[in-house]
Amino acid sequence: MSVAQPNRVTPTRRSFSGGIHPPSSKLLTRDQPIEVVPTPKQVRIPLLQHVGALCEAVVKSRDEVVAGDLVGTSEAPVSAFAHASISGKVTKESAATLPNGRRVPTVPIKAGDEQLEGQALLDDIYGGEWPTLRLDLPRPDLILQAVRDAGLVGMGGAAFPTHIKLALNPARPIDTLVVNGCECEPYLTADYRLMLEAPRPIVTGALLAASAVGARRILIGIEDDKRDAAEALSKAAESTDIEIRVVRTKYPQGSERQLGPVLVGSAVPANGLPLDVGVVVVNVATAAAIARAVLRGKPMTHRIVTVTGRGVAQPKNLLAPLGISYGELIEIAGGLTPDAVRVLAGGPMMGFTLGDLDTPVTKGTSGITVLTGEDLQQFEETSCVRCGLCVDACPLNLVPTRIALAARKGAWNLAERYYINACMECGCCAYQCPAQIPLVLLIRMGKAHLAAARV
């Protein structure tokens, strides 16, 4: 065999229409290595951390569990299992309100004495050997089974169950697996740190996922402000067929509706998924979790959370057990500063305002952003002058002002005529609006109303 060559990193000229360039604010945590959170006294594992059906608890109060034990399952077609993230004793079931407003039951676990901590934990999750060349690829159905058993969901934020995404569909053959390392959301650097510090499990996971879906080609997409991450991945992927593509830094590049077409060249239908054009997109952290689930049989128990914003004293990238509270992570990042005024679950574009610091971290929690009064300077809302900036910014080619104002007035037919349901709520329009109209809020409200009316 010839000398191993790092895979070529190729820039992609193609872009998508619309989109915006918000200040990235990633410098706050870009250079902060992943830090392992000490085991908390208690975690509360929500029985719904994903898109789909609620899990049912399979443990009861006073049961002893070890980290990785199953605590919740569901037979529903779209759901994802929940696992204990620390070892200890289960206490009485309690409810928690997730950032999106849903109130869900949780399985609280009081920490026992035996825990995997610090570097040992980090090594257990991302360390060790991750084969890429002489990788014995298991049968697709076995990969799928392992992914399902591990309770994997998309870690980029949407939290869609991964085993459904990877399930083979004879009617829709998959040509390309896209691994998403864009992390276009401002402030967040969790994926970036993972790509730098643990590129190998990402590569291994990509190979496994591609084999599960029968993809012939693997592309890893990374924005051009993270070239060092692209280099790290290309080194980890040396001598494999994986292609690393550097794409323009532009929000929302990391949306699968943008990234898939940018890399592959075909647009996803508004009511469809990337798989309709032969593409499956998985986030880099999800890819790493796939490798861990398939090769080591380990479930999803931890994730990297960027705790950031000018409202926290020491912004950090933390490896946190699922079910730890937002408040505890903020404390580990030095606590709130005096001028902190708003805590967001996620980043400023797609994130939800958090009402309660006791909220547990879930599989989709990519970051906690704390904004200050200065960040939130707001101007008074004025009338729409139909300037069309929102139309230019919309990456999905919609007319946000029409949809939002129709929703505000309850003109549901009009909102539907302007394709309200095609909106993915990326926030580009509201970011651009010179009249400070809360476009996304209005559209979200309108969609909720229409969804309720349909049932």
């Binding site: 009511n271 139309v391 919609l398 007319v399």
Partner: protein
């Protein structure tokens, strides 16, 4: 300049009055009333009496904007509503004949405006260069195409104005004028004269690009501009009025809701089946 000042002050005053009347807070800080005043002042004849500007301003803000519900709700460009009103109501002092004053100190002001001259086939149309730099009779804002282009390009570069509208408007005016020249050889104006005389370029950059009264999408903006350019030339050639900008803008404003409706863009990647 005095005329512009009069219009701005009256527009602001009317904006405050109508807002108070409607019980909403006057939207003065957005400067939209000032823009209306400036456009209005620049579109009036140089000789117009101050009272004409005041009346035009009252109509512009009062009937052009306030009755529709204020900023953002008006269908018609307020300045053009005011201009059209005084042009018809006070035809002698504010219409086409107002530009000609035999006693004026500058020789150029004793001649008819280029378009009136062409219409009546009396007097001569100045040369293209004179029209381009503004050495001709006309309203305050319209005479120098050069100045309009400079200001217009600045607005487009600042993205305050959408470039699609002026480009499609001027291009369509040129095409229609060219066709007219071919079909009606006796028409007095050449294509270049059409483009450099009257308010065509001024309105393309400063009036047609008003966001409130123009379409939202790129496709719609091209349709809007093309319609405007064609109408301007058609009105110049076939109506009793020498200039067609005011009516062309008002007519195209009226069809903007229709244009918006037929140009709803398809979402990226195709249609959702459930909508």
């Amino acid at each position: 300049m005095l005329q512009v000042g009069i219009c701005v002050v009256s527009c602001l005053a009317v904006e405050v009055l109508t807002s108070l009347w409607r019980g909403s807070r006057p939207s003065l800080q957005d400067t939209s009333a000032i823009v209306t005043g400036v456009i209005l002042g620049l579109s009036l004849p140089w000789s117009a009496p101050g009272s004409g500007g005041v009346v035009a301003s009252i109509v512009a803000i009062g009937f052009g904007k306030a009755v529709f519900g204020g900023l953002g709700q008006n269908i018609f460009n307020p300045a053009m509503v005011g201009r059209a009103f005084v042009m018809i109501s006070f035809a002698s002092s504010l219409g086409a004949t107002a530009y000609v004053r035999s006693g004026a100190t500058l020789e150029i002001l004793t001649q008819a405006t280029p378009l009136t001259a062409a219409k009546e086939l009396s007097g001569s149309v100045p040369g293209i260069w004179a029209l381009f730099v503004g050495n001709a009779n006309g309203s305050l804002g319209e005479t120098s195409v050069l100045a309009c282009l400079v200001g217009g390009l600045y607005l487009c570069l600042r993205r305050s104005a959408v470039w699609l509208i002026p480009v499609s408007m001027i291009a369509s005016a040129a095409v229609v004028a060219a066709i007219a020249n071919l079909l009606l050889p006796e028409t007095p104006l050449t294509v270049l004269q059409h483009l450099t005389s009257g308010a065509l370029v001024f309105s393309a950059f400063f009036i047609a690009t008003d966001p409130v009264t123009s379409p939202l999408t790129g496709r719609g903006q091209v349709i809007f501009g093309a319609g405007l350019g064609a109408l301007v030339v058609v009105i110049r050639l076939f109506s009793n009025y020498p200039e067609g900008v005011v009516f062309a803008v008002l007519l195209m404003n009226a069809v903007v809701p229709l244009i918006n409706r037929v140009t709803i863009p398809k979402p990226l990647g195709g249609l959702p089946a459930d909508a």
